[in-house]
């Protein structure tokens, strides 16, 4: 089965990230917060494998320390968005009528809201910490999930087998769980893995626009944003977190695909 290969690669990549995060919790080559003004913007060397940043902090140590925070923030955000989004989306798409209209009115209002204002507002309430970001981004992404799920539900519920299920007297909730949910898995898997990437990056976009996680604590996103002024003179600053984000995403995507294939009932006999 070719699928195995993808699962293996994806699993390995994610495994590395998680392992790094675990190791960083107990040990990093240097203290990731240790400023050393005599070793600023040093290129990679045998002392600093990935070089140092504009404050002379070791990039490798920061990448390692950032793994945990970045992945945790992304994971929490995506979970929040998906759980909230799926519930509301299925309800809206299946029940239709007034519930649908009200839910969609709120949903559209949220969707039309730019993330940055939401982020500013939420961070005032929750504080400018990682949970503030999770809540802000989660709220920003959940409506997209609602829309996609609702769209799928609308299209699936008309299919013959769902009609048939209803016709032979199965309850609405049963039909929903049995037939509609599995069909949502594919788009959700794709959307949530994409979202995982967006979260890792939105954080750097927020930093770029002047907001974000309290920056001395490293995350890949804010490392990437902070490296921009040195794009030409100290390229290593951006490449390291950029590649980490890319490989994590690739891993998540591959895993997400195989997860989907496993959960999708129609795959059983494929």
């Amino acid at each position: 089965m070719k699928l195995r290969g993808n699962t293996l690669v994806g699993g390995t990549l994610i495994g590395i990230v998680l392992l790094t995060a675990a190791v960083a919790a107990v040990w990093t080559p240097y203290n990731p917060l240790q400023v050393n003004l005599r070793a600023r913007l040093k290129p990679p060397s045998d002392l600093y494998w990935l070089g140092t940043d504009e404050f002379g902090r070791d990039v490798l140590s920061r990448i390692m320390a950032g793994a945990g925070t970045s992945v945790l923030v992304a994971l929490l955000t995506v979970t929040f968005a998906v759980v909230v989004g799926v519930i509301l989306g299925v309800v809206a798409g299946y029940v239709r009528g007034w519930t649908d209209r009200i839910l969609m009115a709120i949903n559209d209002a949220l969707l039309a809201f730019p993330g940055i204002l939401l982020a500013l507002g939420v961070m005032v309430v929750v504080g400018a910490n990682k949970y503030g970001i999770v809540l802000a981004l989660g709220l920003a992404y959940a409506p997209s999930v609602v829309r996609v799920v609702r769209g799928t539900v609308l299209s699936v519920r008309e299919r013959e087998y769902v009609e048939a299920s209803r016709m032979i007297g199965n309850g609405e909730i049963y039909s929903m769980v049995r037939h509609v949910m599995p069909n949502c898995i594919a788009p959700i898997a794709v959307l949530s893995t994409s979202m995982f990437g967006w979260v890792l990056l939105s954080e750097s976009a927020l930093s770029f626009l002047g907001l974000g996680v309290p920056p001395p604590a490293p995350t890949w996103g804010n490392m990437l944003a902070a490296s921009r002024p040195y794009m030409e003179t100290a390229t290593w600053l951006g490449i390291a977190p950029g590649l980490c984000i890319a490989f994590t995403l690739l891993g998540i995507n591959l895993l997400g695909d195989s997860l989907r294939d496993r959960l999708d009932p129609r795959m059983a006999h494929a």
Partner: protein
């Protein structure tokens, strides 16, 4: 059909009202004050109060809201606190820039991403698929500002083919305008290709498994015909929903791109106004983007049956 459209339009009103209330409250909940920003580190308390009074910011919030809503109802969005300009014409001018870029970028992205996704799905788990997935993932993991700057440095500085800053409206000089707008569109297209490819690939994989595709193949239809006639239209449906989402969302999220390329667009106007606590402009922009968003999605929903014949527009 017409009554459906009218009904949908009627339902946009509560959405817009919700946005209006939310924006109005949120923007005032955020600490900071336009007058303080104007006076900076030398703000004399009495002077702050006086200037806030002149701007109508000392009234109780419900009164401010009612006054504002009353004016909005007759099409008056007020004036910017930052520079005294009326909000509506300002927004429309800025929207022309953002709208054009977003529309073109999403169009080009779909043009590339949908076939790419289909191709990947068709060759699922084979090298071509892996290459396309990896490529899309790479695009997904590059931040807009990074990619934008890279292109700017390459084509603007190193090669000197394109101008690095500024904007010329199409009405003034078509050729010039094109030069200024190429890089932002390319950047945005590349970013969007990442998401869309993955979405259309997933949808196509789903469709490829359906019985009627198997039937079509069994009937001996050539593979190309199966893909074009049966898979593409059906796989396009979920992507189409996504396009609606992206179009709506991008208007708010395009600020980063406009900052990198120094474009006077709506996104930058919004972000600048949030940072300047320019309440009338923030409120106006959000109401406007909400309206655009709702309209775009109405169009998307209306077109949905075209791609997915199983759904009827009620």
């Amino acid at each position: 059909m017409l009554s459906y459209i009218l009904r949908r339009l009627a339902f946009t009103i509560p959405t817009l009202l919700l946005v209006a209330i939310a924006v109005f409250t949120l923007v005032r909940l955020i600490p900071g004050d336009p007058v303080q920003l104007m006076l900076g580190d030398a703000a004399d308390p009495a002077q702050v109060t006086e200037m806030r009074r002149a701007l109508g910011l000392e009234e109780p919030l419900p009164v401010q809201f009612a006054l504002w809503l009353g004016k909005v109802a007759v099409g008056d969005l007020g004036k910017s606190i930052s520079n005294g300009l009326p909000v509506l014409p300002l927004m429309i001018e800025r929207f022309q820039v953002s709208g054009l870029i977003v529309l073109l970028a999403v169009f080009f992205a779909a043009l590339i991403a949908v076939p790419a996704g289909l191709l990947a799905a068709w060759r699922q788990n084979q090298p071509l698929d892996l290459a396309i997935v990896a490529g899309a993932t790479m695009l997904l993991s590059i931040p807009t500002f990074w990619l934008g700057l890279l292109l700017l440095l390459l084509f603007g500085l190193k090669l000197g083919w394109l101008p690095v800053v500024g904007y010329v409206p199409f009405s003034e000089n078509f050729g010039q305008a094109l030069l200024y707008i190429v890089l932002p569109i390319v950047t945005l297209t590349m970013v969007e290709i990442g998401v869309m490819t993955r979405m259309s690939r997933a949808a196509a994989i789903d469709v490829l498994r359906l019985d009627y595709v198997t039937h079509a193949r069994a009937k001996g239809l050539p593979e190309r015909r199966v893909l074009m006639r049966h898979v593409l239209p059906n796989a396009f449906a979920p992507t189409w929903t996504l396009i609606g989402l992206i179009l709506g969302h991008l208007l708010g999220g395009i600020a980063v791109l406009e900052t990198v390329f120094t474009l006077p667009g709506l996104g930058r106007l919004l972000v600048d106004s949030i940072f300047a606590r320019d309440y009338p402009v923030v409120q106006g922009c959000l109401l406007f983007t909400a309206l655009i968003y709702v309209l775009v999605n109405l169009v998307v929903d209306l077109c949905y049956p075209l791609f997915d014949p199983r759904v009827q527009a009620e």
